[in-house]
């Protein structure tokens, strides 16, 4: 499966923006490949299982889907030079409100999905407005929003509430042909964001505003609109992840998002994949690789029963290391 994606990606790379990814993301694929191989070797030696088995791959992919979807949205936010720390609670919003509205009733599935998407869009709009009109920096603005959401969620729901109907759970467990639905969902989101960033006018403008907002405005681009749109997109992917998680475990609870550190992990995945915190460059494929690296590491650690200390240390070091490496390259270039 992974090999499939990799070769697919590489062919696409070969045709277009080859140089873009040469600079930013391709090294990441090499890193990913190396880590993956090392991990599989170590694991098959230490354990009976091997990472390369189809079963193991299946597990990894399922768990990656949630992070992958929201990481796509975070990619959009980072490309435009912003950031979204409210995604963790937005995921919870998606999970909780969908199960609360659906109440195990198949007739309410559509309503549930639409309502949740609407809420997500509104939150994204609010984030964008606070950042552009109130001129609050993105870190503080989305952090504040995450607190606001946290309070509302925790005050309204103490536990799992409602449930999603069994039919909805096909989102998590179903198959279309030989392929699992979640994988198709992830692929759809990845492709959607890829097309957006690469081919549409909005995508071009996202990179422009992220690269140099002033230059973009001088060229007549309405930078505020672009930033707001980016945040709406990011929030929608977050609630999508929430919907997916609700489908997986049948109901949503307020701690789903924050417990798995989706906010920091999504940023980590994007940054490790080569999209700069400063904006203006990077893209979807790097994030895909970033997501996979994080989960290969997670799975390896779990298989080897490495304790959480090392896991978190590794995570922390990787994030710092990746950012330091990219920042260092930028510094070298400036000199």
């Amino acid at each position: 499966m992974i090999a499939l994606i990799l070769t697919q990606a590489r062919t696409k790379l070969g045709h277009f923006g080859h140089r873009v990814l040469t600079a930013a993301s391709t090294p990441i694929f090499i890193v990913l490949g190396v880590i993956y191989l090392l991990a599989s070797v170590v694991i098959s030696v230490a354990n009976q299982g091997t990472l390369l088995s189809l079963d193991a791959l299946d597990t990894i992919m399922s768990r990656s889907v949630g992070l992958g979807i929201v990481a796509m949205g975070q990619t959009v936010a980072l490309v435009v030079g912003s950031i979204d720390l409210s995604v963790a609670y937005l995921i919870s919003v998606g999970a909780v409100y969908s199960s609360a509205i659906m109440q195990n009733d198949p007739n309410r599935m559509v309503i549930g999905v639409l309502a949740v998407l609407a809420i997500g869009a509104l939150v994204g709009l609010a984030n964008g407005l606070v950042i552009t009109k109130l001129r609050v920096n993105a870190f503080v603005a989305t952090l504040g929003m995450s607190f606001i959401l946290s309070g509302v969620l925790n005050a309204s729901f103490q536990n799992y509430s409602g449930a999603v109907p069994d039919q909805f759970q096909t989102l998590a467990y179903g198959y279309i042909g030989p392929v699992r639905v979640p994988f198709i969902l992830l692929a759809a989101v990845v492709l959607g964001v890829w097309i957006l960033l690469r081919y549409t006018t909005l995508g071009h403008h996202l990179y422009a505003v992220g690269g140099n907002e002033e230059a973009a405005r001088l060229s007549g681009i309405r930078s505020h609109r672009v930033i707001i749109t980016a945040h709406v997109i990011c929030s929608i992917t977050a609630v999508l992840t929430g919907l997916y998680l609700a489908a997986r475990i049948k109901a949503g609870a307020p701690w789903i998002g924050p417990d798995s550190h989706y906010d920091l992990e999504s940023i980590a995945a994007v940054v490790v994949g080569g999209t700069a915190l400063s904006g203006g460059r990077g893209g979807v494929w790097g994030t895909v690789a970033g997501v996979m690296i994080l989960f290969v590491l997670d799975t390896s650690f779990n298989s080897l029963q490495v304790n959480e200390f090392l896991q978190n240390v590794a995570r922390g070091l990787i994030i710092i290391g990746a950012v330091a490496a990219y920042t260092y390259r930028e510094h070298r270039r400036r000199r």
Binding site: T201, H204, A208, G211, A215, S219, G220, R333
Partner: protein
Amino acid sequence: MTQPATDGPLLLQMSGIGKSFFGVPVLSDVDFELRAGEVHAVLGENGAGKSTLMKILSGAYRPDAGTITFQGRPVTFRHPRDAQLTGISIIYQEFNLLPERTVAQNIFLGREPRRGPIVDRAAMDAATSRLLAQVDPSGTIAPNNLVKQLSVAQQQTVEIAKALSFDSRILIMDEPTAPLSPHEVEALFAQVRLLQKKGMGIVYISHRLREVFEVAGRVTVLKDGRKVATVAVAQTEMTALVRMMVGRALEDYFPPHATQEELGDVLLAVRGGNVTGRLHDIGFEVRAGEILGIGGLAGSGRSGLAEALFGVDPFDSGTIELGGKPVHIRSPRQAVRRSVGFLTEDRKLEGLVLSLSIRNNMLLAMRGMGRLLDSRLPHPVSVRELAASVDLRATSLDQEVRFVSGGNQQKVVLSKWLATRSRVFIFDEPTRGIDVGAKAGIHDLMRSLARKGAAIIMVSSELPELLGMSDRILVMRNGSIAGELPAGAAEDEVMFMATGEKSALSA
């Protein structure tokens, strides 16, 4: 090879342009005109108003006074986009390109050809190729190259192509040759000639006289926000232009020079100083009581010398001796601890912390020298006395320094170095941006500092200041010391050393 002024139709006429910022006039009553097919250069030292004038023309600023007429019609620009769409493009010194995007994406930024929501890359790339063909005939740039991978000269070509894409009639180039190698400069001139043939008018801002003579037909000299003259290049010569750029009225008075008895020991000596790519074989001495002027044209290494002495961009080889003892100055911190003070060219950006009070700015370097966990300073300082000694005019020492006038700000910066009891002072453009009345005050302060035994190194691009204040003058050219002149030297001698060219007019 000088270009004759053309007789093409009048493209542009700017009349009586005036602009002030916070009550300080930056441009007064400036006229400027441009004909199709001509290259009209704008000359002037830093602060003369060149970039403000160009920002007005390109739509970034609105003029407070005056009119702009373009191809016979009066125009007003509310946004740089207006000027661009009207047919006036500007290439800034720092370029306005997005390094992470391709050439095509940069050129068509905000105007991407599209089919629905999808950008039509094929059309964009094709249009870009056509544009590039006009300015890059050898085809070294492809539409899908990333800008950051291009050389500076190639990036400039992209900017030119961008201007062409707007069907510009006027192209403003701000210091275009600053980052280019001599070979690339020739290529640029070829591009300029191409544009001239198309009937475009080029405004060429530069401080490099030699290039002006090579590429321009007419030149306008600005000084202190006013137009000094517009002359045909064929009918003038370098020294005349320099005189126009930096000459001042003869009424300026300066404090008397130091006499031989007033000079003390050598406080600072440099031998064999080199900074790779910037300075070459620098050697000189300064004595107590002496003001050593550093002259030369922009880019000759004057500021480089100042920065090397203060540890900002230290010497790669060579020695520095302070008070007879060899020292290492590899950082500003080391320089400050050795009693050197540096008043930078841009005091707002580098000399002051604008959000802090006058008092705290005066004590800035002292605090840096003080022990961290101590509230006391290395030696007691009375800010009141400091303020009095520099004749500071301010309502209160706790006022934020950003609200104080330029001349007084400079006095605050000077106080900072008086507080640390500096023995060697480096002034880089001591009176830039200070109104005429206050300049004399600064000059007097400098001389009285010298009299008290300090050694002063003064970098200045203003000839009268250089000649009036310095006891000796070192003239820089191309990163080395071209020569030394005594007090009482003539302007011509300075300019000869600075340019390496004799004036045909001096006997």
